[in-house]
Amino acid sequence: MTKHIRILLSALALVSVSGLANANQDEIIAITGARLLPITSEPIDGGTIVLKDGKIHAIGKDINIPSGATVIDATGKVIMPGIVDTHSHVGASGDTNERSKKLNPEMRLLDSFNPADPKIKVALAGGITTANVMPGSGNVVGGQTIYIKMTGDTVDEMIVDGSIGGMKFANGTNPKGDKAPTTRMATASMAREALYEAKAYLEKKQAAAKSRKIDPPEFNLGHEAMAEILEGKRILHFHSHRADDIVTVLRLKKEFGFRLVIQHGTESYKIAKMIAGMDDVYVSHILLDSHGGKHETMELVIDGAAKLEQAGVKLALHSDDGVIDSRFLIRTAGLAMRGGLSRDAALKSLTIYGAEMLDLTDRVGSLEVGKDADLAIFDGDPLSLYSNVLETWIEGEKVYDRSIPKHRLFATGGYLIADRYLALEEDK
């Protein structure tokens, strides 16, 4: 890139950032008067939340507003933590399933991600601030997932600082194809073998670290990432629908001891007690509007999430964007309540439980002092049909504002023809 173009681009980036953000790094912002849903503690009516350096500086009912703070009156509004989507393909559509081979632990979704995808702004309009963007389920080992914040000009700056992401595995229908695996037993076998190879690799590495007499193994990019799963540093996100497939995943977990998020878990409600009885297992669930579409989703039920809660399983709800449009993720929590999920669990399924599944509880998932100032501000109860996301904030900056007409189009649709769309309204 020539220097001139680079300067021009930086200038453009500045313009676009300043267009969205209303805060610079040093500014202290106090949002007052709203009903605050901290998630990890009781709701606060007429509370104040103070944001500083991109973090939550203070939160409570009667707290001192630091002098010099910009005060924003949010009376009548409801503020919850930015939503955490534990399973998304936003920004990577069309580049999630590498078809040339079935075991791809060395591949990084990072390299497929396009930060210019407008669906990222659509997700912001849905109050989502953090997402686990994953490879698809077409492979036994799909690749490394990324944990991102939903704003930024490059993927590298969107990655949550210090996070290494997860690893995507899949079983059931999707990884089966014309080439191996063509059966569930082969799928499990390929996953097991890959884990054993990584285990042997890790043991060699560890042995070599202890003794100069032992040679380290030949460097292997895939094994390196898989070893992180075995060390408990990288969480395994395992796409699995049917109860028997989930049991296979749990069997693998017993063999290798990894930290596990069951992704989708359509029939997880059938074995909820078994899941609840194991350590470090979460269900990242999807609630679709109907069963079917394939065999393994025939027994999707609206009360599955409620049954998981009752058994003591921590669950998140996810979009699987574009299976569910990110804007409608929060809606699925409302529907899960229709199926009996408690309000408390519904809110946690969108926030703190998701943060736990991504190992990001020190950063996101609740309104607590020291956490990132990621907020979703509503004009009413977030779990009501009639409420809208008014604003979305990431690390102390307002990144979505429904009162700006062009922003609102990311909520309603029509953003690709913004000028024409907005002219329609002027017609009236």
């Binding site: 109907s290 079917g292 229709r338 649709g413 029509g414």
Partner: protein, 401 residues
């Protein structure tokens, strides 16, 4: 006893087992959305007799000892104006996909009636959330897809469930015909799709004028001729503005009333639609906004309503997961995005009943019509509300959900 007698006895036994409609019962509700000029009735009563609505109002006398069902809210049974439930099964395998004859781009002679499976699980799913009448169409794929039908959502055979066994000829424009037929004999362009539709209608016009005794039996021509004579409605799938314009062009050429299926970008050309006397089978509000649906707007129904363009709601076609959308929830999102609540209910009850020519039987809560009723606890559209019961012709056919 003759075979005919045995048959009659069997039919009677069958009918008794299936329709256990109590002769007379009453539904007492806080709110009744009638979809008639009476609008909303508060603290009203519906008297159901022999499967039909006998009376509705605030001064319906309930005799002592009568069977009374108390509920919060009642609406007429919902009408889904475009769905493939019953013909594209939930398993989504070749074995249960019967909405699209994929080797034939010109299928005017096909009747969806012959594909319809009353026991398909997605029908019960639609019923659970208040849909009592479905307009089932071929898959939006072939330029000429075949003839749709309108069914109730309960019953054992297609024929007994059908309100109209032949309702509308389905024509499809836009990306889908190209995608499916590009590698066969075409069409692979929009102009070819339009041309195929136009040509088939001209052929039917010619066939229509031939001497009835001399002309060849031709099921395809026969069906298309019914479109030209107005005996069959015509629906045209089109998402983009310019595809909708093509529909209007063809409809004008053959003097056909244009019913636009989806009409995703219709909100951009409301005056044109109004002038062309078009009706829109509105896209499911939450349809995926990609490809030719990229400009889908949650406000589309509201914008059409404000411009007085007639529209009806549909759950549409889904090819994967979820295998169908839920009509009630699609309407809900339109309401949340500015559509008047009464207009929303109308667009799933009386407006489609009139559009499809079945308003003598369904579409509103008024004396003489079928007792197709949906009971709710709480705002019908709210996520956390529940459908607490669904009646078709006075029979409680679902406990809701």
């Amino acid at each position: 006893m003759s075979i005919r007698h045995i048959f009659l006895v069997l039919i009677t036994v069958f009918a008794c087992q299936t329709a256990i409609a109590q002769d007379v019962f009453y539904i007492k509700a806080n709110t009744i959305y009638t979809s008639t000029d009476d609008g909303i009735i508060s603290n009203g009563v519906i008297k159901v007799e022999d499967g039909k609505i006998a009376q509705v109002g605030t001064n319906v006398t309930i005799p002592s000892g009568a069977n009374v069902i108390e509920t919060d809210i009642v609406t007429p049974g919902l009408i889904d104006s475009h769905t493939v439930v019953g013909v594209n099964g939930a398993f989504n395998e070749d074995a249960d996909q019967d909405a699209f004859e994929r080797v034939d781009s010109m299928g005017a002679e096909y009747r969806i009636l012959d594909s319809f499976n009353p026991y398909e699980s997605l029908i019960a799913h639609a019923l659970k959330f208040g849909v009592t009448t479905i307009h089932v169409t071929p898959q939006p794929a072939a330029p000429v897809g075949g003839v749709s039908a309108i069914f109730k959502t309960t019953g054992h055979t297609a024929d007994e469930m059908a309100l109209r066994s032949e309702a509308a000829m389905m024509f499809n424009l836009g990306d889908a015909p190209k995608a499916y037929f590009r590698d066969r004999n075409g069409p692979s362009t929009r102009m070819a799709t339009a041309s195929l539709i136009r040509e088939s209608l001209y052929k039917a016009k010619a066939w229509q004028t031939e001497d009835e005794d001399k002309r060849k039996m031709d099921l395809s021509m026969q069906a298309l001729a019914k479109v030209l004579s107005g005996e069959l409605d015509a629906i045209f799938t089109a998402h983009r503005e310019h595809d909708i314009a093509t529909v209007l062009r063809i409809a004008k050429e053959f003097n056909i009333k244009p019913i636009i299926n989806y009409g995703t970008e219709g909100y951009l050309m409301r005056d044109t639609l109004l002038a062309a006397d078009a009706t829109v089978i509105a896209a499911p509000t939450m349809q995926r906004s990609s490809g030719e649906k990229q400009n889908a707007s949650l406000e589309a129904a509201k914008l059409l309503h404000d411009a007085q363009v007639p529209f009806v709601f549909s759950s549409g076609y889904e090819g994967y997961v979820p295998k169908t959308r839920v009509l009630l929830w699609e309407i809900a999102i339109a309401v949340a995005n500015g559509l008047d609540k009464q207009a929303a209910i109308d667009a799933a009850t009386i407006v489609p009943a009139e559009l499809w020519g079945i308003s003598d039987k369904v579409g509103s809560i008024e004396a003489g019509k079928h007792a197709d009723l949906v009971l709710y606890q709480g705002d019908p559209f709210e996520y956390t509300s529940k459908v607490t019961g669904v009646y078709i012709e006075g029979v409680r056919v679902s406990e809701g959900g």
